[in-house]
Symmetry: C2
Subunit: 178 residues, 2 copies
């Protein structure tokens, strides 16, 4: 992604953080991650991340999804003798449609990006409005999409190690940002 | 503390959460903790807590300090074979004056509640404005006070086990809220 495109996306993400009443330091703004997950399809599949803290014991970050943007299906397995990541998503702004393992929800609020359905396998829906949260256990498949207004989501979790994430879509390779 | 007094404090705390743009679920509002730490001096020494998640791996909560209110000096030691709590304080609204181990700061912004100075021993000052944060390692003495506007503080941490906290003031006994 071109630097100028990244700056455009960052500026748009700030607007969402502002709507959610979230104030970032200048360093956090600087270090904000625009993740297109190597798919080069950011408008449909991608996420913006601002990491507050990620140490050996816990992690906290804020995320922005633009309208109908999807964070694709993945899980956090045990890795190198360390327990897989457990995480709590808390909606701060907008609506989040979260899908995880369990009974398929009929008439769901969201669908995988058209053409990518083969890389999605879990369809149990949890709807998160501002003030709602949901905890995903380690090694549990999940994906999520914002509603029409976009969404701001806080994530509280055990330590974050992006490189051990396993995505259902084999085209995706997550790289470390440390 | 009388139930009616607790309700008055809760209502005031909601106003601060509102100013910080933080939305709580009705259950979180219901379960909000008004901690006077057994000192019966809540206006000067105490804190309001709303816990988002506290599992075996991580914890996240929001806290309100009213103007010039102090969370008294304490530390989180190892306990029953579990590592002491490490925690990150992030200011969301107002100003926070945090004191921890290290060189004493001259002309500090805050002082212990008058008459309680003997229960305070660390005076290295960190000032947190909205968007600022600071991480306290396990077993490290710390206390904090809000500025004139009060403060809303997010805490991200390893699991929270209130009963193992050690306060410098021997009159304080923290009880579990689980």
């Amino acid at each position: 992604m071109k630097e100028e495109e990244k700056e455009r996306i960052k500026a748009k993400a700030f607007e969402y953080f502002h709507k959610a009443g979230i104030i970032l330091s200048s360093q956090e703004k600087e270090n904000m991650e625009i993740a297109d997950l190597g798919l080069n399809d950011f408008e449909r599949t991608g996420i913006v991340l601002a990491v507050y803290v990620n140490n050996s014991r816990y992690c906290a970050k804020e995320m922005v999804l633009f309208p109908r943007q999807t964070c694709p299906e993945h899980r956090h397995p045990d890795h190198n003798g360390r327990e897989g990541k457990m995480e709590t998503f808390r909606c701060r702004y907008g609506e989040v449609y979260l899908y995880t393992e369990g009974e398929k929800t009929k008439n769901s609020k969201a669908h995988p990006p058209a053409g990518d359905e083969k890389y999605y396998s879990v369809y149990h829906e949890i709807i998160l409005l501002p003030g709602d949260q949901y905890t995903i256990d380690k090694n549990t498949l999940h994906w999520f999409q914002a509603g029409e207004e976009g969404a701001v989501i806080s994530e509280f979790s055990s330590p974050s190690d992006d490189v051990s994430d396993i995505f259902t879509d084999p085209r995706i390779k997550r790289v470390s940002n440390d």
